[in-house]
């Protein structure tokens, strides 16, 4: 019960921080309105999926270094398949790319289970492999995206019986994010699988002795991570209209947001809500820095420093939580 309260407390604190940042943003830029919120939601979209991918695996007690490379591969695959193809063809591309993410993610988990090499090494190796595969698909940024897909993240969601000025604050990108996360996450939490993922992250041996199929659960966790990463890759292609084979800074961002979101890097704790709010916080900090007319490259430095500081803080908390002298 206390753990539950503490977790919710953490999420509530993050939410307060987010609201505070919105107030700061409004103070810096009095004209900050619904349109800017829409572009924030669009910018958050790929990051949020990357974080969701990382969260599932971290809760299961692992780490996935191949998140960013997976996004790059799925993004270029989608972009090159949709390039010059008909609008209807995209109906085939989307499920294809998502399945690809799911299968490649499952392969990650399978390799970890079969080779018994630690997750960090296996996903480092698959990071190389996926990056190479992305370069094989497209060796330079290019490709295209179907118009109707692009339309799913631009503009606002028309809701009947709601005045326009409120409606303007519901960007389609945010709706897409919430729907995708809910459709995958809620049934997962409700099924046997959800508690199993938490169980193997908390104590693998105890989970095994309580009858949790550890190997299968681990593979499923990585498969889900792959699926989320594929959603992230798709959203990248959709929002930019092209695919880029060189992955963005999504790996570090995902780890930082997971830590900031209250998910312990040791596994077994936390939820999806915290990391998602954390992504909004990190993105909004960037928006504020941009609004303050700071050089974008300096912004990148500050952002990187914040992420490193967050990860360091998270690691520090983890040591404090352990009995003195214990090995990590």
């Amino acid at each position: 019960m206390t753990r539950f309260l503490r977790r919710q407390g953490w999420v509530a604190g993050l939410l307060a921080l987010l609201i505070f940042l919105f107030v700061v943003t409004k103070l810096i830029q009095p004209g900050y309105g619904s349109g800017d919120f829409g572009s924030l939601a669009r910018a958050v979209l790929p990051y949020a999926f990357a974080v969701a991918a990382q969260t599932v695996v971290v809760i299961a007690g692992g780490i996935d270094l191949s998140v960013a490379a997976m996004m790059a591969l799925t993004s270029v695959t989608a972009a090159s398949m949709m390039n010059g193809a008909s609008e209807e063809y995209a109906f085939f591309v989307v499920p294809f790319v998502l399945t690809m993410g799911l299968v490649l993610g499952a392969l990650n988990g399978f390799l970890i289970v079969v080779t018994r090499v630690p997750d960090i090494v296996v996903t480092l190796a698959t990071l190389f492999v996926l990056q190479g595969a992305a370069l094989l698909v497209l060796d330079a940024p290019g490709g295209g995206a179907a118009e109707w897909l692009k339309a799913t993240v631009v503009g606002t969601m028309p809701i009947p019986n709601v005045p326009d000025n409120i409606d303007a604050w519901v960007p389609k990108a945010l709706v897409l994010l919430v729907v995708c996360l809910f459709v995958i996450w809620i049934p997962l939490r409700r099924s046997r699988l959800g508690p199993s993922i938490y169980a193997i992250g908390s104590d693998e041996l105890a989970a095994f002795r309580s009858g949790v199929p550890v190997a299968r659960t681990r593979i499923v966790a990585y498969a889900l991570s792959g699926l989320f990463a594929a959603l992230g890759g798709l959203s990248l292609t959709i929002s930019t209209g092209i695919g880029a084979p060189i992955p963005g800074p999504y790996l570090l961002a995902s780890v930082a947001a997971v830590v900031l979101g209250g998910v312990a890097l040791g596994g077994g704790k936390g939820g999806l809500l915290g990391p998602i709010i954390a992504v909004f916080v990190l993105r909004l900090v960037r928006t504020d820095l941009t609004l303050l007319a700071i050089d974008p490259n300096v912004t990148a430095i500050i952002e990187g420093a914040i992420m490193v500081a967050v990860v360091m803080f998270g690691a520090f908390i983890t040591i404090r939580g352990r009995p003195a002298g214990a090995t990590p």
Binding site: V122, A133, D139, L252, D295, V298, F316, I319, A326
Partner: protein, 328 residues
């Protein structure tokens, strides 16, 4: 399984081969290198001559030094992914500062960020206990940001490759590449440090059993901090050598060397989990990868395919070493 038990009964050939590989990793590695050279000669008769050997050595040396950084950090169970950025930074700063500055001042300026990044890495890993992979990835992101800001300030002054670095990078003395003048002392120093000094023993001790090392009075954070500073310094020096070889300062100069440097150390028999390995194997590993790259270039394998191959090599070799260790 103790050795006396296996001595008394006949041992299967496969098992003997495994033990042999584990005890003398250098011999199979050299055999592999020779096989690769023979394949190369068979594909392009006459390619293997004095000039080719000198050329191969020239390209293998920067890789071997960076792989030395990986070897030393891997011995403690870490990894240093910031070497690419550090090498690029020092090379870029050297090439731009030499225009207006005294060479000695330019050298100090070029080494400064290397020391700083190494120090931050060391503090993050040693004191805050962040996973080295995440930590070094973060600092390399920040470093790249700084480099982009810096680039803007020196666009007007232009860049120049100092004659000395030109000589060091591409020159030949009696058919031997001048880079050997730098590499031989560095290699001897690394091997000597690892095998004959207290610091080297501490690295093995920390990597093999951190808790035991701590309990026997090793100051963990001091060892780790000095290790990452040394690793960064070596990476910085490699950057200077590499700019003399490539002769085109860019913001992604040494990035392509990062993955191969990890692969070279892993192939060379250094365990990514720490406590096992050495630098001589790494040097052969770097040679193998350089010859392999030539081979793949001749076979028209694109960059993406090469990365996929390197990823699989890392995974396969790690899994194989894990099996060998488990068997003992």
């Amino acid at each position: 399984m103790s050795s006396s038990a296996t001595m008394s009964q006949p041992v299967s050939f496969g098992r003997r081969l495994k033990r042999f590989m584990a005890d003398r990793p250098l011999i199979p590695l050299i055999i592999l290198l020779v096989i690769l050279v023979v394949i190369l000669q068979a594909l392009r008769p006459g390619i293997v001559n004095e000039r080719w050997i000198a050329n191969t050595a020239k390209f293998a040396i920067p890789l071997a030094i960076l792989a030395g950084c990986q070897t030393m950090t891997m011995l403690t169970g870490g990894i240093d992914l910031s070497v690419g950025t550090v090498a690029t930074m020092s090379a870029f700063i050297m090439a731009t500062q030499i225009v207006n500055q005294d060479p000695a001042v330019a050298f100090v300026l070029a080494m400064l960020p290397a020391v700083l990044i190494g120090f931050v890495n060391g503090i993050g890993v040693g004191v805050f206990r962040v996973h080295p992979l995440i930590m070094t990835l973060g600092t390399s992101l920040i470093g790249t940001g700084f480099l982009q800001v810096y680039q803007r300030t020196v666009i007007a002054s232009g860049a120049r490759i100092p004659d000395f670095l030109n000589w060091l990078g591409t020159g030949l003395t009696y058919g031997f590449p001048n880079a050997l003048f730098l590499f031989v002392p560095v290699a001897v120093l690394i091997v000597f440090t690892l095998n004959r000094t207290g610091f080297g023993r501490l690295l093995y001790a920390v990597g093999d059993n951190e808790r035991a090392a701590r309990l026997s009075g090793v100051r963990y954070w001091q060892v780790i901090t000095s290790l990452y500073v040394i690793s960064s310094l070596l990476a910085g020096i490699t950057g200077l050598l590499y700019i003399g070889l490539i002769k085109a300062p860019s913001l992604s100069l040494a990035e392509p060397l990062v993955l191969p440097s990890v692969a070279a150390a892993v192939i060379g028999g250094t365990s990514i989990f720490g406590g096992r390995g050495g630098y001589t194997g790494t040097i052969v590993g770097a040679l193998i990868l350089t010859v392999l790259t030539t081979l793949l270039t001749i076979l028209h394998m694109p960059e993406g395919g090469r990365r996929i191959l390197f990823g699989f090599i890392v995974l396969f070799v790690t899994a194989a070493y894990l099996r060998i260790i488990e068997d003992r």
